[in-house]
Symmetry: C2
Subunit: 361 residues, 2 copies
């Protein structure tokens, strides 16, 4: 395994959209959605481990999750877990992790991964990552993976492919990025064959991404510009504690990808879903005869369709007459909600917190 | 308080219609449905205690409930709790209890009560019981309370009033009994003004009811015919253990009331509901602005109507788009079911038991 290859896994997100399963103290990436015994984060680490050695896997998370991460990933050494003192979206997170890695290995190349996505085709995924590393290691290039759309999803960002590259089949210059289009546009995008979902999986060398930060996001680059012998040394945590919170809150897409002129997309078919909320989980899960998804639980239904049942523990659900619903029972909360209205769940979680207290969220 | 007045409270029923709240080991009468801190059984005892002294209150139940009864009713002495070795419906139960009381006091008059009903107008109830006692103590008469129907309920038995009695306003000879009429008939009954719901509340002297058993239900009378000095003595439990199970399984209505010619009805307005199942509970409970009943629990609803939410413990329910539903969450079971189909719940409980095990019912 190439010892200059590193992986950054971002696992500090809150993920209130899976409430009541995801909770403030146990967000989505730490949940075992499919009853396989492995959380989404654990599966992410398992998956990348054939391309990147565990010593080179860096986790970036909020400090409140340090215990659960150590518990779920005992194979990752303590110094590879970067604890953010504040939530500042993906750009500051990636900038920090890239500086950390650059300090350890200026020749490093890096794949940056979300921790809460589903990838069903593991072999295709690993092949794509390895090919992506080869591509970015050959020049100053920022690479993102693009997923062939299977539906006109209006919740994703889309990447438009431009001209093909020489010698790297499936890798194209990026022509444009479009965030969350409306349905009409999403349908056009899908039918054109030129647009791909932005999976938030990026490859670059440490050198290239830090150069891009200097050029396209100098505020972050300056805020995280530490004296020599800070990153990769015991002084790093203190520097981060003092400075990280001063970074602007911005995603890597807005801060870098949409601005840079050396951005490429590798189009892949890896069985990907962002599992953004219940509907995506429903679609990613096997259905029973009535078209319901019963997440690993005991369910007795009459005249129910298109419904996802998720329950914690050894409990039975008896239900009738539910069409296209979420039924999620976890701890001290029960959600019975139309799948089509799932975008309301974030607001509901706020309402619950305000009206009934934070012990319910 | 008249020391010849006794009360028999029947509290051995199973009540699977309130599953998952009612369970095999904790049927309806032991539940605190209204969050008042008192179970239906405790409220029944509380209510009758102004007409009958606690020493004269006899409970008849299945032996499996002896612990929960002692726990809920510490004021009732052990010898007043009659433990049935088998379930044989109300006629054998009443015959036994009446013999027990007759042995203690041949001059006894008895009010027999179900333990799982709701009575909102307590003063009216006590007045009716006291007047009923006076009526049955004056002659060989069997008296039942008749409730003025507030809806054409097809689940109840109806009593048709006949000629009025002399000197006892509101007490009539019974003309007929009709079990569970169809809707058309129930509407006719209600509009006629002559028909009343049979609340299963009976008054008689011990002498009169035992005489009626001899005449109209001689099988039960003979099966429970013990040698002298059995009832009311330490020999009684052994005799019952040996013989009670040989009684036929029959209700007091079929065994006696529909056959006897000395049956009277006292028409009353006591705010009564048999709380037979969720719909009745819904109707007996205060509703919130959206027409939902939230049984003492934290609920956040959007676009829900006519729905009853019942949850055990400090838990929140978030629901949307439910019309006329039962949402009941208790222990290891969650029920989400249309109120209109609640008669299916009995069958469902059987299904659950057969498919998932008796620990869920």
């Amino acid at each position: 395994m190439n010892s200059h290859r590193y992986c950054v896994i971002m696992c500090g997100g809150v993920g209130s959209r899976f409430w009541p399963f995801s909770r403030n103290d146990r967000p989505k990436q730490f949940l075992d959605f499919f009853g396989t015994g492995r959380s989404l984060l654990q599966m992410t680490v398992d998956r990348i481990s054939s391309s990147v050695t565990p010593e080179n896997i860096i986790l970036v998370t909020n400090r409140q999750y340090s215990d659960i991460i150590r518990q779920q990933l005992p194979q990752i050494k303590e110094s590879n877990i970067l604890l953010e003192p504040a939530r500042r979206n993906t750009a500051p997170c990636i900038c920090w992790a890239s500086r950390h890695i650059y300090a350890l290995d200026p020749e490093a190349s890096i794949v940056t991964l979300p921790s809460d996505h589903l990838v069903l085709k593991e072999i295709e995924f690993c092949k794509a990552i390895d090919e992506g590393f080869e591509f970015v290691e050959k020049g100053d290039r920022l690479l993102t993976l693009g997923i062939k759309p299977s539906s006109p999803n209006t919740g994703y960002g889309y990447i438009q492919q431009g001209v093909a590259t020489d010698g790297f089949p499936g890798i194209y210059k990026v022509k444009s990025f479009t965030e969350k289009p409306n349905l009409e546009m999403a349908e056009l995008f899908m039918n054109s064959g030129e647009f791909f979902w932005n999976a938030g999986i990026f490859l670059w060398t440490a050198k290239s991404i830090l150069k891009a930060f200097d050029k396209y996001s100098p505020e972050i680059a300056q805020t995280l510009d530490a004296p020599a012998s800070t990153y990769g040394t015991p002084k790093e945590p203190e520097f981060i504690n003092d400075n990280f919170q001063n970074c602007i809150n911005i995603s890597i897409d807005y801060a870098i990808m949409e601005k840079a002129d050396n951005v490429y997309v590798k189009t892949v078919d890896i069985g990907w879903s962002d599992l953004g909320a219940w509907k995506a989980l429903y679609e990613a899960s096997p259905r029973n005869g009535e078209g319901n998804v019963t997440q690993n639980c005991k369910v007795l239904t009459t005249d129910c369709e298109g419904t996802i049942f998720a329950v914690e523990g050894d409990k039975i659900i008896v239900a009738a007459g539910l069409k296209d619903y979420i039924v999620a029972d976890s701890g001290n909360a029960l959600l019975i909600y139309p799948l089509k209205d799932e975008q309301q769940i974030r607001n509901i979680v706020n309402d619950v917190k305000n009206r009934f207290g934070s012990e319910f969220v």
